[in-house]
């Protein structure tokens, strides 16, 4: 049984009152969700608490889930909205990415004539550590798509569905996130 059909069956069983089915959903998605939420909020305890809240919200909204959509996409949409609410409360700008894209701080998506080789100077393990540190310093909406792409391993189409944005916009955000991380590495080197 494919993962997608398995999820749909688990959702159906949960709606019919099978608690064990929802336990299986939690077991399957707790780590991907924690890694997404954890990387976006940055604090482990807060991330664990938020992950729990997302599962509770998911359970209470299961009746509104439409089986034609992928369950994981729907779950992450709930999580993403939860995070946006958190950013709003923390007064972190989650909405003016278009403005941020025009910001001079963001690197251009063209290869400069004299580009220094920064990344290739590091060993992979050291580079991972530096990427983690740089990830905390990039704008939250860019961090979100970076985590989805590289940690949750979502396709651009899945991310576009979660955010309700065109695939091209999502690709652009992911590339901006990578380039900004590279820029941060360049500053540190």
């Amino acid at each position: 049984m494919s993962s997608m059909n398995e999820d749909k069956e688990l959702v159906e069983r949960t709606i019919k009152g099978d608690k064990e089915a929802f336990e299986m959903i939690i077991q399957k998605y707790q780590q991907p969700l924690l890694n997404y939420i954890g990387r976006t909020v940055g604090e482990r305890e807060l991330a664990l608490d938020f992950t729990q809240e997302v599962f509770i919200k998911t359970y209470s909204s299961l009746h509104s889930y439409k089986p034609q959509y992928k369950f994981s996409t729907w779950l992450f949409k709930i999580a993403s909205n939860f995070i946006i609410d958190y950013w709003r409360k923390k007064k972190i700008d989650a909405f003016s990415l278009d403005q941020q894209e025009q910001d001079n701080d963001l690197p251009p998506l063209q290869v400069p004539d004299k580009e220094p080789s920064i990344v290739t100077k590091f060993e992979i393990s050291e580079l991972r550590e530096r990427i983690e540190q740089s990830l905390e310093k990039i704008p939250a909406p860019l961090r979100e798509v970076f985590v989805w792409r590289h940690i949750n391993e979502f396709s651009y189409e899945e991310m576009a569905e979660i955010k309700g944005l065109p695939v091209g916009t999502i690709k652009n955000r992911v590339f901006q996130a990578r380039e900004l991380i590279r820029k941060r590495l360049e500053e540190k080197a």
Binding site: F22, I26, L34, T51, V119, R128, I131, F146
Partner: protein, 192 residues
Amino acid sequence: MKCLSIEQIYLCIEKELPLSENKKIEEHLATCRKCKNALEERRHLLQASENLPLWQTPPDFTQQVMARIFPIRVPLSAWLTAASAGFGSITLAIFILFLVTGQNFSSLLTSLNHSLWNFVRNFSPVFVKLFKVASLFVKTLQQFFEYIIKAFASLTTIISPQVQIIIITIAIILIAFSIYGIKRKIFIGEQA
């Protein structure tokens, strides 16, 4: 072909470009050092990004979430059943006492009241002292009581209302007979 954009470089690394475009890019990369370096730089970055360490959830995470979604609840009907059973049992106990002693209801209630009052009067000083001692242990025993309450709540959800009625009836009859027995003992003691 002119030099690659960052977007083309990433799409090339991720094999997201159409085959025809991919071929052109490969040909360009074979001749352009700048684009080749830029591609290698980003390939290395993506390689490291794809293996970032994963955050682990605690082993009891699922249970924690399930406990928040499905807290142990004692249904109201169970408490109503228990209260009805208690009231019914007291009535039954009084009726049995009436049959055993042959007294009328009012004198039976009066004697029960007297017994209860004597019991309270004799034992209240002891109870006060015991209460004072017990209060010292309240804080340390708090956790224990929580477990007891949870266990009782679980029990009432497991045991059927009929069995609950039987258990409570038996308990009340036993208490009633104990009070009667104490009264008789006191009465015999007074006679002796």
